[in-house]
């Protein structure tokens, strides 16, 4: 059965919406040729790579022992520790940066409460701590899955061939974890490249921060485009390398899982050490923001909060609807009519998601200024850009639903005398509805927290929760930023609690 043009048309539009701004960015940067000659790229590149490498290294050193403790040892409370360990990934990065800044320094929360004023971490160290605190769960999740899928008999076989614990780790376990390390590592590096809030608040000059400076203060379009292209190029390089290094699928574990190593008297100690990691990351934004928000509860900020919430909702809700509407035909196409073109469209959707938002957003800035200036910095454009950027997130649960819905089921219904419409209403719709809901919710919550795209494309006078949190923190006005940060952190944690429930539901 051939795919109808009603499927192709929206898919082609979505694919174009990803590709056009990126291509336009390329053209723009090439045109502004002289901008490439200006010095200063190499230090930016070096700092960007240094930050990515440092975050990745810390993430591996944290996630590997954490995953091993949770999967392979009789760690007390390992079930819910595994959940707790993942939660920080729901926090917006700038909220963690806020926490670090608001807690420290002479006027920080720590100084107010305990009279202890540790120096304010800024620059590299501050960015590094904040990024590690919310990216380590990506590696942890990957490594935990890979360790759980590793057949313990492989290690036994190596043992019977004369390999002790260290040799088994390096020759069996580590090679088996390689795909998980590369996959998780690529996600972490992409997050570091995509980050805007943390490096801007910490004033650590990476590509993102330089673009921010160019755009916000200096307004040199050519140079900003060239910087954005660098950033995009790095992200594409990571994606390509990840694809190349990932080895073909290996058979998973068929037998029972590995027995849990006893921890003995070290058990409670290990429990505390493991729990400390996510608790630190969660406390980072929640405690300082909670402290200031409670203190200022009666202030004028409260009046400002509903307005910002309303503005966030006015973008996030339509973006979620549009994203799901565009993802549905793409999910149907890629699962029911798979082929080169459907594959390309799916890959473009993921490209739009993996592209650093500053680069993606700048592409749209220039595109609209060149062809449709009346659209520049309007709500509809921001909604469109959100919908396209988050398309891949809406696509995930929908594709999973479609794949779980065998074509045979629809054929069986047809064989029982149901027409196309009836098949859709009685079979496909009820079965994919949870996927639509989950996808929409993921996009909605993502758009609520999103910062760089809003920063570039928001209409004048538009102050969403994320922008308000960022602006007040930028001005070192931590008490005023507190309610916004707190609300956004709770939105993130809420999504982390809600989405798995929705995706699981049958």
């Amino acid at each position: 059965m051939r795919a109808s043009p009603w499927l192709w048309l929206p898919v082609a539009l979505a694919a174009g919406a990803v590709l056009l701004p990126l291509l336009h960015l390329l053209v723009r940067a090439v045109e502004g040729g002289e901008a490439w000659g200006t010095p200063g790229y190499l230090p930016l590149l070096a700092r960007t790579l240094l930050l990515a490498a440092a975050v990745l290294a810390a993430d591996v050193l944290l996630a590997l022992p954490l995953a091993w403790l949770v999967v392979r040892t009789a760690l007390p409370g390992r079930g819910w520790l595994a959940v707790l360990l993942v939660l920080p990934l729901a926090l917006p990065g700038y909220a963690l940066a806020y926490g670090l800044l608001a807690a420290t320094g002479p006027a920080g929360v720590l100084a107010e409460v305990f009279g202890w004023a540790p120096p304010r971490p800024s620059g590299f160290v501050g960015a590094w701590i904040a990024l590690v605190a919310y990216t380590y769960p990506y590696l942890f999740l990957n490594l935990k899955a890979a360790l759980g899928a590793l057949d313990p008999r492989l290690e036994e076989a190596a043992g019977s061939l004369g390999h002790g614990p260290a040799a088994r780790f390096f020759r069996i376990v580590l090679p088996a974890l390689k795909p998980a390390l590369f996959g998780g590592g690529a996600i972490v590096v992409l997050h570091v490249l995509a980050d805007f809030g943390v490096v801007s608040l910490m004033r650590y000059e990476t590509f993102s921060y330089a673009i921010y400076l160019q755009y916000a203060a200096l307004y040199d379009q050519e140079r900003a485009a060239a910087l954005a292209l660098w950033l995009l190029g790095l992200a594409l390089l990571v994606l390509t390398l990840e694809g190349r290094w990932l080895s073909p699928n290996r058979p998973g574990r068929t037998g029972p899982p590995a027995p849990l190593a006893p921890l003995g008297r070290l058990g409670p100690l290990a429990f505390l050490a493991v729990a400390a990691v996510p608790l630190f990351a969660l406390a980072l934004p929640l405690l300082p923001a909670g402290y200031w928000a409670a203190k200022l509860a009666a202030g004028w900020v409260v009046a400002d909060l509903p307005r910002a919430l309303g503005q966030s909702l006015s973008v996030a809700l339509p973006a979620a609807l549009l994203s799901v509407a565009a993802a549905t035909p793409l999910a149907v196409l890629s699962t029911r009519h798979p082929g080169a073109l459907a594959g390309l469209a799916t890959r473009l959707a993921y490209l739009g998601y993996a592209s650093p938002p500053l680069a993606f957003g700048l592409g749209y800035v220039y595109l609209s200024l060149s062809y449709l200036p009346q659209l520049y910095q309007t709500l509809p454009l921001l909604i469109l850009v959100y919908a396209v950027h988050f398309l891949a997130e809406a696509l995930g649960p929908l594709r999973a639903r479609m794949l779980a819905l065998p074509p045979r089921l629809e054929e069986a219904a047809r064989g029982l005398g149901a027409g196309r419409l009836e098949v859709f209403l009685r079979i496909r719709w009820p079965l994919i509805r949870p996927g639509l809901l989950a996808g929409g919710l993921i996009v909605f919550l993502g758009a609520m927290k999103e910062l760089p795209l809003a920063f570039l494309l928001a209409p004048l006078g538009f102050e969403s929760l994320a922008l308000a949190a960022f602006d007040y923190t930028e001005e070192a006005n931590y008490p005023y930023a507190a309610p916004f940060v707190l609300l956004l952190a709770l939105v993130g944690l809420g999504s982390a609690a809600l989405i798995p429930q929705l995706e699981k539901r049958r």
Partner: protein, 343 residues
């Protein structure tokens, strides 16, 4: 001195006893089959010997050296015992050559290369050295697993149902080849299987396991012809059980007087294999209930006042369902140990 000596080995998981009071010995070049239904403790026994598990009681020695006891358990990497897993468990990130060379890392590079090549040649996989496990057929994977275990030249090899995932056409040939190779090399072999035919055909001795205990151990002929218990008689081939009253070497049974394999007194439980019964002109009256033609012979199900019996008959016998006949024993019946005596 035996190659492997196992004494009163016991392993418990929580309240469940997987292996209880297991004792046996194995000589170099000997093949001992551990036979039993699933859950009888066969694999646990192998894992205790390999060192993947620590015994709760008892001990085991290899060439006189103590390998494992509750107090002291040598880790598997220091035992030097070859292990072939049921699903082969080849290292997926290493090719055939690297898999086979895996256990040879303490050797000099040249020696390692030569040994690996030699072993690959012995199992006929030289041409596949650069392939990865997922590019091999089941039979080839099986041979890689064997080559990998044999390359370090262990004195003892443990085989955990190594032939069960091969299809029937491949199984017998592979089994003959593999066990032939092990025997020629003088390697002691423990073969875990739940396939009675495999155990009877391939092993020098069979240990029948039930619920973690050895029910009987002996040569295939001994175990088949003189099963100690009803469980062994049933598990190895099929049998007819009948009770009788013994007076020395003869017992009164529903089939009439039957000669016994050993002297006994009082109530006894007897085992008579289908091929140890015959239909003819003498004996207890029976009626043929069912007939199943097996190609080389015919099995008849008969019933009479004496009970229901399975008889193996000559293919020339003309009996059909509904025919009347007479049944008698043509061999001595085996006196079984009663469950009470078993422990």
């Amino acid at each position: 001195m035996s190659l492997l000596e196992v004494r009163e080995l016991t392993k418990r998981y929580g309240r469940r006893t997987a292996v209880e009071d297991l004792s046996f010995a194995l000589d170099a070049g000997e093949i001992l089959a551990l036979l039993g239904p699933s859950g009888s403790g066969k694999t646990t026994t192998l894992r205790l010997i390999a060192g993947f598990e620590r015994p709760d009681d008892g001990w085991l020695r290899l060439s006189g050296r103590l390998l494992g006891s509750p107090e002291r358990s040598l880790p598997p990497e220091r035992r030097g015992i070859g292990y072939v897993f049921q699903e082969y468990v080849l290292f997926p990130h290493l090719n055939v050559y690297e898999n086979v060379a895996f256990g040879l890392r303490r050797m000099a590079a040249r020696e390692r290369r030569e040994r690996t090549r030699l072993v690959l040649e012995q199992v006929g996989l030289t041409a596949f050295a650069r392939r990865y496990p997922h590019e091999l057929s089941g039979g080839q994977q099986q041979r890689v697993a064997l080559a990998r275990a044999l390359a370090p030249e262990p004195p003892l090899v443990l085989l955990d149902e190594p032939f069960s995932s091969l299809d029937a056409a491949l199984r017998e040939g592979t089994r003959r080849e593999v066990l032939g190779l092990l025997r020629r090399r003088g390697v002691g072999t423990l073969l875990v299987t739940h396939d009675q035919e495999e155990a009877l055909a391939a092993a020098d001795r069979i240990a029948v396991l039930r619920e973690g205990r050895i029910e009987q151990i002996g040569s295939p002929e001994e175990v088949y012809h003189r099963p100690r218990t009803a469980f062994v008689a049933h598990f190895l081939g099929s049998t007819n059980l009948l009770s009788g009253t013994a007076r020395g070497r003869v017992a009164d049974t529903p089939l009439g007087p039957v000669e016994l394999d050993r002297a006994a007194e009082g109530r006894v439980l007897l085992s008579l294999r289908p091929e140890h019964l015959e239909l003819g002109a003498e004996g207890a009256p029976v009626v043929v209930e069912a007939r199943s033609f097996k190609g080389h012979d015919v099995t008849l199900q008969v019933r009479g006042p004496a009970g229901s019996f399975r008889v193996q008959a000559d293919y020339r016998l003309p009996f059909r369902p509904g025919d009347a006949a007479r049944l008698r024993a043509r061999e001595r019946a085996v006196v079984l140990v009663s469950p009470a005596e078993r422990r």
